[in-house]
Symmetry: C2
């Protein structure tokens, strides 16, 4: 019953190609994968129905839109049982773009994107105020050196 068994190399190649440019016409994908464009449609529909391909999004340069500072936050909770409550609060803070439950010292590990240092300070203040949060550690991103999708065709098959 493992869904991975339903996925072959044609699927992976289609995903890889569309992951580089999701707007590539299926006709062009079809040529590169050596199937008909109808097959690309069928496969993509399958992948979408299976929930493997969830959506297509834009890759945006946020700094060019004035969002110049991003930061990772290690969040310590007063009690770890407060996790769900705190996540709900974080969801209401639009600058929080991701949040994870991780092993290690932090109870929650989150990422925020802000316009400038002032904005960052405001957002950090807001997060500190959230009930259940003990303290936070901030890792400000000074440079993004790698940011890329998984490559499927390096070592496996």
């Amino acid at each position: 019953m493992d869904k991975i068994l339903d996925i072959d190399n044609i699927d992976l190649k289609i995903i890889s190609l569309l992951n580089e440019d999701a707007k590539t016409p299926y006709t062009e994908i079809a040529k590169k994968v050596f199937v008909s464009s109808g097959t690309v449609h069928v496969r993509m529909k399958k992948l979408e129905d299976m929930g493997i391909v969830k959506s297509a999004t834009l890759n945006i340069d946020f700094s060019k839109l004035g969002y110049d500072i991003s930061a990772f936050l290690g969040i310590y909770l007063e009690k770890s049982s407060l996790y769900d409550n705190v996540i709900e609060k974080l969801k209401t803070i639009s600058e929080v773009v991701s949040a994870y439950y991780t092993t290690g010292n932090y109870s929650i590990f989150a990422k925020i994107i802000c316009r400038d240092t002032n904005h960052l300070r405001l957002v950090l203040d807001n997060i500190q105020k959230v009930e259940g949060i003990d303290r936070t550690e901030t890792l400000i991103v000074l440079e993004e050196s790698i940011n890329r999708p998984i490559q499927f065709f390096d070592k496996e098959k």
Copy 2:
């Protein structure tokens, strides 16, 4: 000369809508933003030329493809001057999907995606072997509670 000045609310609305679903036809975007589809084209071309919209990518559920474990790595270097060299080495390890230069204790902060715990162990071994890396701390992601794009229309304008 600030590029932000060239971006108006029409641009931001187009970006917001396409960021939710990059495959939405421009004709549909046009209706929602109350301009012609030609204008959507012109604006998107401008945004692409400016490098604000870099590409479109798929949002993939990697766990359904058998990539079940992701982890953040705090990397300590022997000397911080080795940063660029180590980044180049990390680029050759396909499981490394992102790497940042951040404030705080770590010299490099990275994210990796692996199939299972065995695969994770292999990748961690490979990373430890990289010349210049002193030691690493691993935060294994047990749950992804938030993962979303920036929202432009919450508090501003």
